[in-house]
């Protein structure tokens, strides 16, 4: 393929440098071990799926080859069903995460900065953090009804804890020297928070948000499985009820894709925001 481009460019010398540089860049990216290894593993996975579906697990009530999933994907896209459901899920994830980020960070700072707040609330936080919150989803649906509100509530409840806890630990782990510096320059309490605790804790906050995204996707599906009229969880549930295995896989793949792309987006954002470290924080 690279030689094709080279042949074309030799015919059109005017645009040669730009196109040559682009194909070079694509080629160099593809040659990076991290990239070509993941591509190879992806190809093996997809081909393996197709072969297993066609020759090993041939009962289509349990498993289908990849090509059937692709057909279902096209069917659901054309009918508009897929986008309606994706939009419904993402709306709940968006609202729930936004709430979780705002409330999680504010409360995390308070928790990390004040011993008193920590003493009063830590027991409940630890209890809630370790409780499988799936258990309260039916209750939330009872309270808020089937629809956006209950899904947002589940997403919020399940994703707020990693943000609160990592924000608080970020604030608590701020180097005492930085606090001394702020104090010696006469910083007020609010200035200590805004100019030292928040920037110093930011990497922790972003790690918390990254963990929360994965949980938010779990949350929205739980909300939709227990009761909903739209969403990827709803799509999966109804596909299961009607033995529409290809449609079920479409839903699952969309969720996996959402998780991976959101996590990547946040990693990219982390690198943009935290330029003051030689490398972004590793988990």
């Amino acid at each position: 393929m690279a030689s094709d481009i080279a042949a074309t460019t030799s015919e059109k010398p005017a645009s040669a440098p730009a196109r040559g540089a682009l194909s070079d860049r694509v080629l160099r990216t593809l040659l990076r071990p991290r990239i070509y290894r993941s591509l190879i593993s992806l190809v093996i996975f997809l081909v393996g799926w197709q072969l297993i579906g066609e020759y090993v697990l041939t009962n289509k009530l349990f498993f289908v080859p990849l090509s059937d999933v692709a057909v279902a994907f096209v069917r659901l896209t054309v009918s508009g069903e897929l986008w309606t459901n994706i939009a419904a899920s993402f709306k709940a994830i968006g609202y729930g995460m936004a709430l979780a980020i705002v409330i999680g960070i504010s409360f995390g700072i308070l928790l990390g900065a004040s011993r008193v707040v920590a003493d009063y609330t830590e027991v409940y936080l630890n209890a809630l953090y370790s409780t499988p919150l799936v258990a309260v989803a039916p209750l939330l649906i009872l309270w808020l009804g089937i629809g956006l509100a209950s899904k947002v509530a589940v997403v919020f409840l399940i994703s707020v804890f990693p943000i609160v806890i990592s924000t608080a630990s970020g604030v608590r782990n701020v180097d005492a020297h930085y606090l001394d510096v702020a104090k010696s320059f006469g910083a007020t309490r609010w200035q200590v928070v805004s100019k030292v605790l928040i920037p110093a804790g930011l990497p922790f906050v972003l790690t918390g948000v990254r963990l929360a995204i994965g949980r938010a996707i779990v949350g929205v599906v739980i909300g939709e499985l227990f009761g909903a009229s739209a969403g990827l969880g709803y799509l999966i549930y109804t596909a299961g009820q009607t033995f529409d295995v290809p449609a079920l896989f479409v839903g699952v793949i969309c969720l996996a894709f959402a998780g991976v792309s959101l996590t990547w987006a946040l990693q990219w954002l982390e690198k943009r925001i935290i330029r003051w470290k030689p490398m972004a924080l590793e988990d």
């Binding site: 320059f185 935290i274 003051w276």
Partner: protein
């Protein structure tokens, strides 16, 4: 000439009867006992003592980071209570904010006081030039060497235009070569700005190279054992370290400090 009228210059910092006692599981630990000092405007005053003699505690009390158990500190005749931008503190540790560039680190103090951004930035750029870091304004601390970071540290303290500069072993963590060049830089910067400096170190040669006067602190409890006038000619260069006068002074301070050690050993034995 500077030396001649040193005695006539007004007193910048006056410390009287200062003491600090820590409560450690019932046993009071006297760290500082009856410290009395008068530091004059424009003076480079060095406190030297072995580690654990309470010299850092003393400096932290002057800055307002710790409280004294007794005694009083006056700056320009006003009693001090709590930290303030009238004193600029240069920390021993690498305490630059890693999330701020060199420029924004230097702007930290003025920013807290609500100085307009444009003015703070212009000031900061000038101070960065003064400490010899022009061109590195937009570097983050992790991109700077240890010596450069201490220059930014110094610039940050300068940026609040303090009446007195408090320096807590600022060069202790640097390698020998960088330390020597930083000492020379500090001499130059202080000469250019005429700042009053209270400097703490455990390195005797550093003390003598920099100081107008040296207070030798005894160990536990820290007391001012002796105040020595360093009347060696200025500007002092590294060549001075090879003169007999310099070595005689090192010897004098060394014997004082070694004397405390013997004293402590005897007390413990």
């Amino acid at each position: 000439m500077e030396q001649a009228n040193a005695g006539e210059r007004p007193i910048k910092l006056a410390v009287s009867g200062l003491g600090k006692t820590f409560q450690t599981r019932g046993n009071p630990l006297v760290v500082l006992d009856d410290i009395n000092l008068e530091i004059r405007a424009g003076e480079f005053f060095v406190i030297v003592g072995q580690s654990g003699c309470g010299k850092t505690t003393f400096l932290r009390i002057v800055q307002g980071l710790d409280r004294a158990t007794k005694g009083e500190i006056k700056l320009d005749g006003r009693p001090l209570a709590g930290p303030g931008p009238d004193r600029g503190f240069v920390f021993q540790h690498d305490s630059l904010f890693p999330w701020r560039t060199a420029l924004r680190n230097v702007m930290f103090g003025p920013e807290l006081r609500g100085t307009p951004r444009a003015k703070a930035e212009k000031d900061a750029r000038e101070i960065i030039k003064l400490v010899g870091l022009a061109g590195f304004e937009n570097h983050y601390p992790f991109e700077l060497s240890g010596g450069m970071r201490q220059r930014v540290n110094l610039a940050r303290a300068f940026a609040v235009h303090p009446d007195i500069l408090l320096m807590d072993e600022p060069f202790a963590a640097l390698d020998a070569l960088t330390r020597e060049s930083m000492q020379q830089e500090l001499v130059r910067i202080v000469a250019e700005t005429g700042k009053t400096v209270l400097f703490i170190t455990h390195q005797i040669d550093e003390a003598i190279l920099l100081a107008d006067r040296i207070a030798v602190l005894s160990a536990r409890p820290g007391r001012v054992a002796k105040i020595i006038d360093v009347d060696l000619p200025k500007p002092r260069t590294l060549a001075l370290k090879r003169t007999p006068e310099f070595n005689a002074m090192v010897e004098e301070v060394w014997e004082l400090i070694a004397g405390f050690e013997k004293g402590t050993a005897a007390a413990h034995g």
